[in-house]
Amino acid sequence: MTMQQGTPQTTSLRSRINWLDLGLRIGAVILALLITSLILLVANAQPLKAYWNIVLGAFSSTQKVSAVIASWVPLVLTTSGLLFTFTAGLWNIGMEGQIVVGSVFCVGAFRFLDQTGMDPWMVITIAFIAGAIGGFLWAILPGVMRIYGGVNEIFGGLGLNFVAKALAIWLIFGPWKRPGVASMSGTEWIDPQFRLTYLPGTSLSPVIVIIALVGAIFVALMLKGTHFGLRLKAIGKNDRSAYLMGIPTTRYFLLAFGICGVFAGIAGSVLVTSKQFSLIPDAGFGYGFLGLLVAMLVNYHPILSSIVAFFFAALSVGNIELQYMGLNSYLAGVLQGFLVLFVVMANGVRQRLFKKG
């Protein structure tokens, strides 16, 4: 008898929470916009005009829209990867370094296969796989350090970020330096035949969009519909109970890191083959950290994260326009930061309200 009563009750409870949740989130966004506006006012700029310029900067031409999509792709990939580690209750701060190492492996593969005369698509595929392996290995490291060395993965990941960057710089100025003089602007460009072709009049390659979509769908399916996803979730919520239930927690921890690293490596390969065409010191472009923000902003929801990633990409691209207003283009970062802070706070408030209710 209780069961029949229970079901509708739970659903009604759910819809109520969702409305409250939505309201709080919208409130958080408005608050973030208000505070950013205040900062703009202090900087003697008109907020509305600045926001309008961002919109123009992101969407006023095909070229710009394509740039937004091109920067959405790596962000979706990093966010998707991070959903695995977040689900398992892990903080993969080392994402940025994993992108760098992925890029290193990818560029390395191109250098190695450059003169073999193999089919370019074959070489590109191998380079992507190499990138994925690079990211995988670099991501497993903090996992191993945590499980066997007792090093919190946040510290491990943070440290490995620096090591990854150092590795890239060493390669750029050492073994892989440009003929003549080494430069911070990176290694020699990869052969044009290995670059992904842009759509005419844009800087966007359709291949990477497909990669991003496949990645995002893969994550949504894995986390929502599979035993693997549910087990990861269980581990994230209570790894002791999960272990006693018979879930091999160590293996799943490592797998979560590994999969996340594969996504990082693919993101790195995307950046190499469609944006930078070489290895540069800052090969991650901050996508690893931005991915953390997006994932937190949507409370680790797979589908929402793709949408919000698009919004973040638009902000980052549209931002460039602000320079013509005499404003520093870090404004997007300010807005993104406030957004995450307020939304995370809104989550806390919601939980408080729900508990008291």
């Binding site: 069961m3 519909g225 109970s241």
Partner: protein, 487 residues
């Protein structure tokens, strides 16, 4: 302090947890609150101690209307609650645990507080070392610690929620003596329990709760039938003893040694038969838990063999024990058994072995629904486990066990459950035994051990007794062994 509750109502969604409750409790008495799980006892106590707020109704202390908005408010008004699960800070020292609750001081005064702890301990006959780490204390000791801390904060009304669960008979006696002393010193004690014998032995007055209402109040001399009538509105019978052991052996322990940082168990030899129930008795922390975890494959023995089907399992991984059909049901449900944040359905999906990639939601839902009705869990397939009451969480935990098992290991299987649920759970377990599943369980309740075991092992200070036949022993004999007499 005199307490008066007037027309308290509390809703959780559509559940009417407290339905027009009015109650008067006078100073210097021990008031019992009796009722089965989900009868609304804990809810009312949480309202009184500020964890929840009533939807309507009034609380009067010594005739003055008060508003209790937080546990902090409650403490300031002199109301302190001892929770079913200890709310202390395991990685800290006892003294730090005290200092945390102190108000209005910038600097900590360790020496003074330490002195005060010692004085209070002496006054009430507690033995707690202020410098010990909380995590090294047993549940009983942590309870004493919490009572002591509340008294030290100046509490005049002490609420105890199921305090006798998980403590030994000895500790219980001590606790009761303490409570009587407190009542004599004009404190008000509210004792929440589902155990008839505890309430009858201790309380000056008992309010029986049923389905969110006060079903009636009783005063001594008590009559057990009256209680049961009020609690369940019907009569219930206690289950039958298990059938005789089967001759086939399931598992053999050869010269097993287990140890942790404070206990060493040596040379344990035992043959466990199929379909047999072995009860483990002893004061908390005497090695029963180590023994059970050794059988579960969580704690590796330092020496000896665990032989199952002529194969030595000592040193094997936990997964191998699971594969051998051994299931471990821990006492701390929410920490080691269930996963807060996941629904019942998700738990049932996780508990079964699956090699396919995708989850079949329909299959999972039908499994969940059948287990919910089979185990009479009051909850929906999409209820999150933390929304269930303690007793229903325990039922859910038992419902997670797989169909075919060789050995079930249980820690305090009926701790915190009402009589009806306990009897019902043992009925379920007996069905398993009839299917040749063996059971080894820990309980602090000697009656339960004698009632349901075929054989009993007593643990005392690192020693394990020879198996004792449950048919020929008595509570007294076991009690003496537990206390270290007769070894």
């Amino acid at each position: 302090m005199n307490i008066e509750l007037r027309n308290i109502h509390k809703w959780f969604g559509k559940v009417h947890a407290n339905d027009d409750i009015s109650l008067k409790i006078s100073s210097g008495t021990i008031q019992g609150i009796l009722g089965e799980n989900g009868a609304g006892k804990s809810t009312l106590m949480k309202i009184l101690s500020g964890y929840f707020q009533a939807n309507s109704g009034e609380i009067l202390l010594d005739g003055t209307l008060v508003k209790i908005k937080s546990p902090d408010d409650a403490i300031r008004l002199g109301i302190g609650m001892l929770h079913q699960d200890p709310l202390d800070f395991p990685p800290m020292r006892v003294i730090d645990d005290f200092l945390l609750g102190q108000h209005g001081r910038l600097f900590l005064n360790r020496a003074q507080v330490e002195q005060e702890i010692k004085e209070l301990s002496q006054k009430f006959g507690f033995q707690i070392n202020p410098d010990a780490y909380v995590e090294t204390l047993t549940v009983g000791e942590r309870q004493q610690l919490e009572i002591l801390r509340l008294l030290w904060l100046g509490v005049r009304i002490l609420i105890l929620d199921e305090p006798t669960t998980g403590i030994s008979a000895n500790q219980k006696e001590k606790l009761f003596a303490t409570l009587e002393t407190l009542a004599k010193q004009d404190l008000t004690v509210i004792f929440v329990s589902h155990k008839l014998e505890d309430v009858q032995g201790l309380c000056d007055k008992v309010a029986v709760f049923r389905q969110g209402k006060v079903a009636g109040e009783l005063t001594p001399p008590y009559n057990t039938d009256q209680f049961i009538q009020l609690m369940f509105d019907k009569e219930i019978k206690i289950g039958e003893r298990a059938t005789a052991c089967r001759p086939e052996s399931l598992l053999r322990l050869e010269n097993i040694g287990i140890e942790d940082y404070r206990l060493r168990l040596r040379n344990i030899n035992l043959t466990l038969y199929r379909g047999e129930i072995i009860g483990l008795a002893g004061m908390e922390g005497s090695g029963q838990k180590l023994f059970l975890q050794m059988l579960a494959g969580i704690k590796r023995p330092v020496s000896g063999k665990i032989v199952i089907d002529e194969e030595n399992y000592a040193g094997k991984r936990y997964e191998s024990f699971l594969k051998a059909g051994i299931s471990y049901i821990p006492a701390s449900r929410m920490e080691e058994g269930l996963i807060p944040g996941l629904t019942l359905t998700e738990h049932f999906i996780l508990s079964e072995e699956h090699n396919e990639l995708l989850i079949s939601q329909r299959e999972a839902l039908s499994l969940t629904q059948s287990r919910i009705s089979d185990f009479r869990i009051k909850g929906a397939p999409y209820s999150k486990v933390e929304q269930l009451s303690g007793g229903n969480q325990q039922r859910a935990l038992l419902a997670l066990m797989r169909e075919k098992l060789n050995l079930i290991l249980m820690e305090h299987p009926t701790r915190g459950l009402d009589i009806e649920s306990s009897i019902w759970i043992w009925k379920k377990m007996k069905e398993r035994c009839a299917d040749c599943t063996s059971i080894v369980f820990i309980s602090a309740d000697l009656e339960e051990i004698i009632q349901y075991s075929d054989r009993i092992l007593v643990f005392f200070g690192g020693m394990v007794s020879e198996p004792i036949d449950a048919n020929t022993t008595s509570v007294d004999e076991l009690g003496q062994l537990i206390g270290g007499i007769g070894w």
